[in-house]
Symmetry: C2
Subunit: 308 residues, 2 copies
């Protein structure tokens, strides 16, 4: 199956306790596309860049089956740029700079070849842009997944709620789930948020794993305890790419397969954070991926034994 | 198998966003004994109380198979008292009062009937008292588990390190593991801490579950997402009681069974926090426990599917 994704393609300057990386390639749609490319080879990228973006990075994406037909290149303009510094414990970060550049007036236009994609991944971006993408599809996709963040809850809640009402899966972190629902208990938060539209809610908890809520079912996928987390940037986007990648590859929307997709997403994210930017995500072998998936399976497997 | 436990038997005044409870029965050894009593009926309690402690509470414990022969009752003195208030998010708490009372000069003396216990649970208490208990055993128990906290790392690190060197399992929370090891990565922290003595390390992460480290193996048990957490007091002690309770019941120290013990501990803790103090822990049915254990198993169970 094919995946359409919209999101940023950008430059990031990142500082973590382990080092600095200046103006490296990043952006939600970049991470999503790279992660999903390990599952399917028909990915349609919708985004906007300036003419400062390295052509070879786009060639690498195309070589992985990512179409850039819907990637607008603005002559004489600059790509979106974000700079941030992570705290010592890596759980928080300060934004040092946000230069919207080409993103300021981004108007997504889907090429005809994009409009029948079965799986749609709306990466973190203004809700208006996400909605415009949904509206251009020829028919309702099999699955629409939405990623967003607290910033849009603060500045564009009405538009965000409209998009949330249109999607099948929403992925946000625990603090965002609490903000969106006004509930501290994630069980209660999930119930309220699913009532806003999405059948499935994924709550990402970073180093503490991810929860999947659907009906009365709850599934928990752990994060893999790592020797070092070098750079958490893009972990959520990588999760999204692995999640929808597995679903598009298997074309199976059962709860059992959704659970598996959450683990695949967590597994891909655990790879990304071990190096800066997309460096590790670009260079994964199937042997490494299979081995890591086995680590995830072993991490929580136990045999419950006898009853009380 | 029999379990010897040492720890506080005390009064707590607790305030959470859900309400207040004044001078209710608490203490590490109380929670440990109640939790373990669902697994075995031969528990030896070593602690100290004043003559203000309600006799019927002790009778209830004895009816569950808990010996109070090693529980010292100090005439004219008062039991240990702790008062605390939890923050709105329940993840932090402020201590409002700590009255050591009988605990100030507690000198644990084990009755002869305690000295051959196969399983020993050293509840959170001064490391000196924990060490005195170990030294009085007739022979090396099959398993010694130590629970402690950051307070002892701050004020009695040398004594604490001596006890840590004597035990098989150490249970602490993630911040304590970081403090004790000086490592932020829990994988690295676990390696350093296990080099201090314990073959097994359990890192408790509260609402984010618990990790078990042994050799190169890591196991993760989630916490059950709950509608409400009314009172987190005693969750760690309940975990310890369920953990050693399962091990003593099965008398099996394989890694597979240790994993199961971590889940049983988490499961018991998930019950405790749903009501104030030991109220829920006193009134669990085997049906309820079996059902909750099934919820834990379902929470993380998935079938990994095909390889990449």
């Amino acid at each position: 199956m094919s995946i359409l994704t919209v999101g940023t393609v950008a430059f990031d300057s990142i500082e973590t306790p382990y080092g600095k990386a200046d103006r490296i390639v990043g952006g939600a749609a970049t991470y999503i596309s790279w992660a999903a490319s390990y599952f399917v080879d028909d990915i349609k990228l919708c985004s906007v860049i300036g003419d400062d973006f390295p052509e070879h990075e786009l060639e690498e994406l195309r070589a992985r089956g990512v179409s850039t037909e819907g990637l607008q290149v603005k002559k004489g303009e600059k790509s979106f740029f974000w700079a941030g510094k992570y705290h010592d414990d890596m759980n928080g970060r300060d934004t040092l700079a946000t230069e919207l550049n080409v993103l300021a007036d981004f108007d997504p236009v889907l090429p005809e070849s994009y409009k029948d994609a079965e799986y749609v991944m709306l990466g973190n971006l203004t809700p208006e842009v996400q909605m415009k993408v949904i509206k251009q599809m020829n028919k309702r996709p099999k699955l629409v997944v939405l990623d967003t963040m607290n910033f849009w809850m603060d500045v564009a809640l009405d538009s965000l709620l409209k998009v949330i009402a249109e999607v099948d899966v929403l992925t946000i972190n625990d603090e965002e789930a609490r903000q969106l629902s006004g509930e501290h208990s994630l069980v209660k938060a999930a119930r309220k948020i699913r009532a806003m539209g999405p059948d499935y809610l994924v709550i990402k908890k970073g180093e503490h794993g991810a929860l999947l809520f659907h009906g009365e079912n709850i599934f928990f996928a752990p994060a893999l305890p790592l020797e070092e987390v070098f750079d958490p940037t893009g972990a959520g986007d990588t999760f999204a790419g692995g999640f929808i990648g597995h679903l598009a590859k298997t074309d199976d929307l059962s709860f059992e397969n959704m659970k598996r997709a959450v683990v695949y997403g967590s597994m891909m994210a655990s790879c990304t954070v071990e190096k800066f930017g997309i460096e590790k995500l670009k260079n994964l072998s199937t042997t490494e991926l299979d081995k890591r998936m086995e680590q995830f399976a072993n991490l929580t497997a136990f045999d419950a034994g006898v009853k009380f």
